[in-house]
């Protein structure tokens, strides 16, 4: 199998996946029942992760699969348990939001004209963060997965910041939900310590 053939096949698969993604997105928007919408969002995550894999980003696809398809489905459902499972019907046709979306989308699409072609060797994405990192990582850090090396070592501060963000999210949920819980007459601590 020659390389151009494989890339043609991959392009075809990518187009099919993107079509399915668009179809799923439209179905999610049109869904009234939120439980059904959550299920379709799970499907959307699976498709998105497959697409990221085709773009050669297995670590991102890994995260999308683990978080988007599994845990976030569970967490969104847990949120629905506290709220409602039916979306409210719209009272009037949303003309202004539609206009805003069309204008913003048009501006963004117009902006892509100036972007270099996808995967171009001289595009900023391929030149600005010094590509030698990829070569140096092999030598500096005896770690075959360059993504791990860059995230953990070259950009260690950034990753520390991200960990702190997750920490803050956890604390925020605890403060919001645990703190406002109506205390029953008996202390809740005994039940939790059991």
């Amino acid at each position: 199998m020659t390389t151009p053939l494989v890339s043609f096949e991959i392009e075809l698969v990518t187009i099919m996946i993107l079509t399915l993604l668009a179809a799923t997105a439209i179905a999610v928007v049109r869904m009234r029942g939120l439980l059904e919408a959550v299920m379709l969002m799970g499907i959307y995550s699976f498709l998105g992760a497959s697409w990221m894999l085709l773009l050669d980003a297995p670590d991102v696809a890994f995260t999308e699969a683990a978080v988007g398809a599994g845990v976030s489905t569970v967490l969104v459902l847990a949120t629905l348990a506290l709220t409602t499972t039916r979306a409210k019907a719209r009272e009037r046709t949303p003309v202004i939001p539609l206009l805003v979306v069309i204008i913003t989308g048009g501006a963004l699409a117009y902006g892509t004209i100036d972007m270099p072609p996808f995967g171009a060797a001289d595009s900023p994405a391929n030149t600005y963060p010094d590509p030698s990192y990829v070569e140096r990582a092999e030598h500096d850090i005896h770690v075959p997965n360059v993504v791990t090396a860059v995230l953990g070592s070259y950009r260690g501060y950034d990753t520390l910041g991200e960990t702190v963000v997750i920490f803050t999210a956890g604390i925020g949920v605890l403060v919001l939900l645990r703190g406002s819980r109506a205390r029953p007459p008996a202390s809740t601590d005994e039940e939790e310590g059991a």
Binding site: V6, E9, I10, L12, V13, M16, I17, L20, A23, T24, A27, M31, G33, L35, E36, V38, M39, L40, G42, I43, F46, L47, A49, S50, L53, L54, P58, A61, F62, A65, A66, A69, G70, V71, T73, V74, L77, A78, L80, A81, T85
Partner: protein, 99 residues
């Protein structure tokens, strides 16, 4: 040849998506979701072999696992309406499920 298999799997995913969109019951949708997840596992495995990167199989395993958890979560939610402990709870009720 792998591309033909990929196309077949993608067609399957498309048909499952149609069933997920049409329903009519919640259970039909969950069934379609489950099928979609397993087809994604196959898609990833075949893509891994097409591009010659068998590392992708780790990902396929994660997909299989997350699909199972997602299906069980949706099933439990449509059954009890919450994830708490009380088993009898505020069961969503048959009339609401078969809408």
């Amino acid at each position: 040849m792998f591309a033909a298999a990929l196309a077949g799997i993608l067609v399957t995913m498309g048909l499952a998506l149609v069933r997920a969109g049409r329903g009519p019951t919640v259970f039909d949708r969950i069934l379609a979701l489950n099928m979609f997840g397993t087809k994604t596992v196959l898609l990833i495995s075949v893509i891994g072999f097409l591009t010659g990167r068998p590392d992708f199989l780790d990902l396929a395993l994660v997909y299989a696992l997350m699909n199972f958890i997602g299906v069980i979560a949706v099933l439990k939610f449509s059954w009890y309406g919450h994830f708490g402990d009380s088993e009898e709870g505020s069961r969503a009720g048959s009339t609401e499920i078969v809408r």
